[in-house]
Amino acid sequence: MEGTANTSAGESVIECQGLTKVFGNIEAVSGTDFSLRRGECFGLLGPNGAGKSTVIRIIYGATPRTGGSLRVLGYDPAIDARAIKKHLGVVTQNNALDEDMALRDNMLMYARCVGIARRDRAGRVDELLDSLSLAHRATARIRQLSGGMQRRVVFVRALLRRPRLLILDEPTTGLDPAVRLHLWERVRALKADGSSILLTTHYMDEAERLCDRIVIMDRGRIRAEGSPRALIERHCPGTIAVFPPDPGLRRRVAQVADATPEFTWFEDRAGVNVRGPDLRSVEEFLFKRGLVPLMLRPSNLEDVFLEITGRELGDDA
């Protein structure tokens, strides 16, 4: 048998220090440190071009690193990628399915690729198709399936070998809310079963709900690290009042917020925002001055993300 990977309970599933990657004269990843603990769901967030996908490809040995040290399931991917990949499942950013093949045939083909014995392939594939509610479309060609179904097929492919490390690279991009909820449920169940999960996403609510810890990357570097709650507490705690984008309103909001130290204001494409320590104080503060916001909401991970990576479009966005 292939045996188990060399990690024991409590150890890191991914341990990376000073990871760098240079393409030509572009430094895509510059000295990244993080670790993913066993049984954890870890989020790797960042704007487009931040270096997330490169980090992921380095982790499973599809891209060589330029510098730094990296252990995945106890192995160095530059040397033992095959050993790592025997315990790995990846929901790739591109579906990369064979569009002319029938769904079930396509999965049987991947079952062979990941090395499931011939007699076990059909059973495993059918089990997964069933659990992801795809069994009724087993004979349909991939191109006949909806986007949400194709994404679920990619989940099936990633789960064929009961991975100990599951990498989800933007798993729910472009999916409707029902499919997203369904997939989140799956991810939680996998985590409960003991899989460690590395997730990248542009949906901050997704990261907030699924991840135990996250790092926010920008231009190849890690800018922040912690649990979603801790990051919100550290970077922008409190309640946010949202006003429509109106120059007169903007002047008044700025005037009152600048005069009070515990209140801050900022502007984005959606409008003018005032942030204060909690719901009650924000309400009091604004209503006393006759300012009625469109809505009041608790600050969230998206506020942290924009605070850290900036509200302007980067070069690679």
Binding site: Y60, T63, K85, L88, D98, Y110, R112, C113, G115
Partner: protein, 255 residues
């Protein structure tokens, strides 16, 4: 090593799985092209060409075209085929998440190309034999030669894949490399009468050596002498082209 072969074989089998989805459509041009060239030129033009070193023009054309299917199929797979799988279909991206690595992908591609080249030339050879073009006893040599030609021409395809910036640029390679290779490899006329410059260039064409061996086999004459002369050259060229292709294409898959 055994595991590497096993993993590479899974890549080959993936291509077969996809290929057989549209088997008839996929095989049609590869089989029909040589067969119709043989018929049109062999029977049509052949009526005006009375003697090709003592045989009919139809007979002259047959082995070269059977071998040339290996060139077309192999070059197509490793140029357009590879480019599409790599850039548009992201097939390798998915494969690299399995225990299959970049070296196994390249090896699997070469095995696929060799088997496909051999299979195609086998079918064309059988068609020829059924119509009594060629001699049976040594015809079994052709698929083996075709496999070798496919590997070397597949290597040329990989090398061009490593240079092109977009898929359209393959047209230039077809026009100025593959076409001359096809027309000047002794398939349509013996090279003995061509200028020495052309003959020398032909010596670095793997297809030319494959065609010569194929002719000796299907005509059932001088096979041993031809093998001793052209065999080492075909193997030697393959031994240069394959590592060159490997070095060029590996960074595309692992960068």
């Amino acid at each position: 090593m055994l595991e590497t072969l096993q993993l590479a074989w899974r890549v080959t089998m993936r291509h077969w799985d996809v290929y057989r989805q549209n088997l008839i459509a996929n095989m049609s041009p590869t089989i029909s092209d040589p067969v119709f060239i043989i018929l049109a030129l062999g029977i049509g033009l052949g009526a005006y060409v009375s003697d090709m070193d003592g045989r009919t023009y139809l007979m002259y054309l047959a082995p070269g075209l059977a071998i040339s299917t290996a060139l077309w199929t192999a070059f197509f797979e490793t140029s357009y085929g590879f480019f599409i799988r790599h850039t548009y279909e992201h097939v390798y991206e998915a494969m690299l998440t399995t225990p299959i690595g970049p070296h196994e992908i390249i090896l699997g591609e070469f095995i696929w190309v060799a088997l496909k080249g051999a299979g195609m030339s086998l079918v064309v050879t059988l068609v020829l034999l059924i119509f009594q073009v060629g001699a049976w006893p040594l015809a079994w040599v052709l698929p083996f030669v075709a496999a070798m030609v496919a590997i070397s021409c597949g290597a040329i395809g990989f090398i061009s894949s490593s240079f092109v910036r977009n898929i359209n640029q393959f047209q230039t390679v077809y026009a100025f490399l593959i076409n001359p290779l096809f027309f000047f490899s002794g398939i349509f006329f013996p090279l003995d009468q061509t200028p020495i410059a052309i003959r020398s260039i032909c010596y670095i064409s793997p297809l030319f050596h494959g065609v010569r061996i194929g002719q000796a086999a299907l005509w059932n004459e001088d096979l041993v002498a031809t093998l001793l002369h052209h065999g080492p050259l075909l193997v030697g060229l393959t031994a240069i082209l394959v590592p060159a292709a490997w070095l060029r294409i590996h960074p595309k898959l692992y960068r």
